[in-house]
Amino acid sequence: MLATLTAFVITSAARLITGARALWLGCTPLPVQRLYFANHSSHGDFVLLWASLPEPLRKRTRPVAGADYWAKPGIRDFLIRKVFNGILIERQRTEGQGSPLQPILEAVAQGDSLIFFPEGTRNLGDEPLMPFRSGLFHLAAANPEVELVPVWIANLNRVMPKGRALPLPLLCTLSFGEPLNLHADESKQAFLQRASQALLNLAPKDA
C-alpha cells in the first residue's frame, strides 16, 4: 500500500517536473519481454524511464541498480526493493562469487523486463556516451528471445546535475529505438559497438 502510493507520487512528480515525453520511434509499447538499455547521467534516469512506461508494462519492468548505492538500510532500501522492485547487482567483482549478472538472469527467467544502463555508472563527462561494459553482451547472449530496446534519455542531466539537490523544471524526452538482437557469430566488441551506436543515433543532434 505504502509502496504503491510512493510509486504513484514519485512517477507523478517525475513526469510533472520533467514534462517527460516518450517517443516510441522504433517500437510500440507492447507487453513483450524487453531489456531497455539507456544512457545514464543521473540517479533519476531509471525513475523517469520507468515512469514513462504504460502502467501494465511498468509492473513487469524492473530497474537494475548498483548494490553499493542502493543496498543501504532505510529509505534507499525501501525505494529500490518495495517501490521499484529493482534488481541489485554488485558492480565491484569480488573473488569467490558467481557471475554478478546472476540476479538479472533469474529475473529474466521469470519473464520480467529490465531497465539496464550498459555504461555501468553515471556519465558525468562531456562525451555523450561512455564505452559500454560487457554486461549487455552477456545478457544478450544468454537471452536471445528478449528484445533489446535502446532508449535515449535527453536533458535529465540538466534537470538534476550531479551534487545538486533542487531539480530544474526543464523538459525531458525519452526516445525508444528499434529493438536489436545479437547476431549469430557476432563478437562482443562488434555487438557493443553496434548497440552503443544504436543508442547514440537516438540522441538529439548538437545537444
Binding site: 514534462g19 515525453r21 536533458n155 540538466r158 546535475p161 550531479k162 545538486r164 533542487l166 530544474l168 523544471p169 526543464l170 523538459l171 543532434k205 548538437d206 545537444a207
Partner: protein, 310 residues
C-alpha cells in the same frame, strides 16, 4: 465580470462555434481519410476552446486570477526556451535563479503594484546577477553565449509576458476598474491577427515574405491578416480607453510587433533545428509558439498606454 466582458466572451464563443462548424464541414467534405491541414485546423480550434475557457476562469478571479494565469504562461514559456537552448553544468545557479527567484519575484512585484521595481528588476538586477552566478562555476567555454541565453529567455518568457498582467496596475482616468478589458483587447487583437494571417495565407498566400525564417508566412497572409485584425481592434474600441482611430493605430502597432516577434522566435527555432517550441498545446505546438507575438507586442503596448493614457 461586467457586461462588456460578458458580451466580449459571448462574441468570442460565437466566433469559435462558427470556426468549429466550418472545421467539421471541411472535415466532412474531405472524407474520413486523415488530412494534415484540416486535422491540424480542427486541433487548433479545439485548443482555442480550452485556451478561452482558461482565460475566462482567470478573468472571473480578476487581477490575481490574471497574475496567476500569466505566471503559469511564463513558467511554461521559460521552460520551453531553456530546454531548447543548451547550457552547461556551471549555468545551474543562474537557471535556479531564473526559475525559482526571478519568475516568482517578478509576478509578486506586479501583484504589489510596484512599477519602479518590476520594470527594472529583470533588465537591471537579474541582467547583472545572472552572469555573476554563472562565473562562480569557473567554466569559460562559450561564456557570453551561455549568459546571454539565460538573460534572453528570462526577458522574453518572464519580463515581456508579465507586461500583460502589468496592465492591471495602470490607473487610467475614466477607465477605473475596467483594466481587464484592456488585457482582453490586447490578447484578442494579437491572437486574431495570428489566426487571420494563417487563414489569409492558406486561402490567398503566394509570395513568401521570409522564406528563410518562416516559410509558411506569406505577403498575402501578412497584409490580409494585419489589416483585418487592425479593423477588428478599431471596432472593439468600446472596450478600451481609446477612440476609433487611436484603437486602430494601437492595433496596427501590436500586430506589427506580433508579426516581427513571430519572425524572431522562428529564427531561433530554425537555428535550433526544430519546428515547434514544445508540444503542450495540441495543434499549435508549445506555449511559446502561441505566445511569440504577444511577447513582442505586450511590453510596447503596456508602455504606450502608460505614457499616453495613464
Amino acid at each position: 465580470m461586467d457586461d462588456n466582458t460578458l458580451s466580449l466572451f459571448a462574441g468570442i464563443g460565437a466566433l469559435l462555434l462558427l470556426a468549429s462548424v466550418i472545421g467539421r464541414l471541411l472535415k466532412w467534405r474531405a472524407g474520413p481519410a486523415p488530412h494534415a491541414v484540416i486535422d491540424n485546423l480542427n486541433a487548433r480550434i479545439n485548443a482555442w476552446w480550452v485556451m478561452v475557457l482558461v482565460i475566462g476562469i482567470a478573468f472571473v478571479f480578476g487581477k490575481y486570477g490574471v497574475i496567476v494565469l500569466f505566471y503559469g504562461v511564463s513558467f511554461y514559456a521559460l521552460r520551453e526556451f531553456m530546454t531548447l537552448t543548451p547550457t552547461r553544468r556551471s549555468d545551474y545557479p543562474a537557471l535556479v535563479a531564473a526559475f525559482y527567484v526571478a519568475l516568482p519575484v517578478q509576478y509578486l512585484l506586479i501583484a504589489m503594484d510596484w512599477y519602479g521595481l518590476f520594470s527594472i528588476f529583470i533588465p537591471v538586477y537579474l541582467f547583472l546577477l545572472l552572469p555573476i552566478l554563472a562565473s562562480f562555476g569557473g567554466d569559460t567555454t562559450r561564456f557570453l553565449e551561455r549568459a546571454s541565453k539565460v538573460q534572453w529567455g528570462l526577458m522574453i518568457a518572464v519580463y515581456c509576458v508579465s507586461s500583460v498582467p502589468a496592465l492591471m496596475t495602470l490607473d487610467i482616468p475614466g477607465f477605473e476598474g475596467r483594466n481587464l478589458l484592456l488585457i482582453a483587447w490586447l490578447i484578442l487583437v494579437v491572437q486574431i491577427s495570428d489566426v487571420l494571417q494563417y487563414v489569409c495565407g492558406k486561402l490567398f498566400g503566394k509570395r513568401k515574405v521570409a522564406p528563410n525564417l518562416s516559410p509558411s508566412k506569406t505577403l498575402e497572409g501578412l497584409v490580409g491578416g494585419v489589416a483585418l485584425a487592425t479593423l477588428i481592434g478599431a471596432l472593439l474600441c468600446w472596450i478600451t480607453p481609446f477612440n476609433f482611430w487611436q484603437a486602430a493605430l494601437m492595433a496596427l502597432t501590436v500586430n506589427a510587433m506580433g508579426f516581427f516577434g513571430g519572425l524572431v522566435m522562428s529564427a531561433i527555432k530554425r537555428d535550433r533545428g526544430v519546428k515547434d517550441w514544445g508540444h503542450m498545446i495540441e495543434g499549435h505546438g508549445g506555449m511559446l509558439d502561441r505566445m511569440d507575438s504577444v511577447c513582442f507586442a505586450a511590453p510596447v503596448f503596456f508602455h504606450f498606454v502608460r505614457y499616453w493614457w495613464a
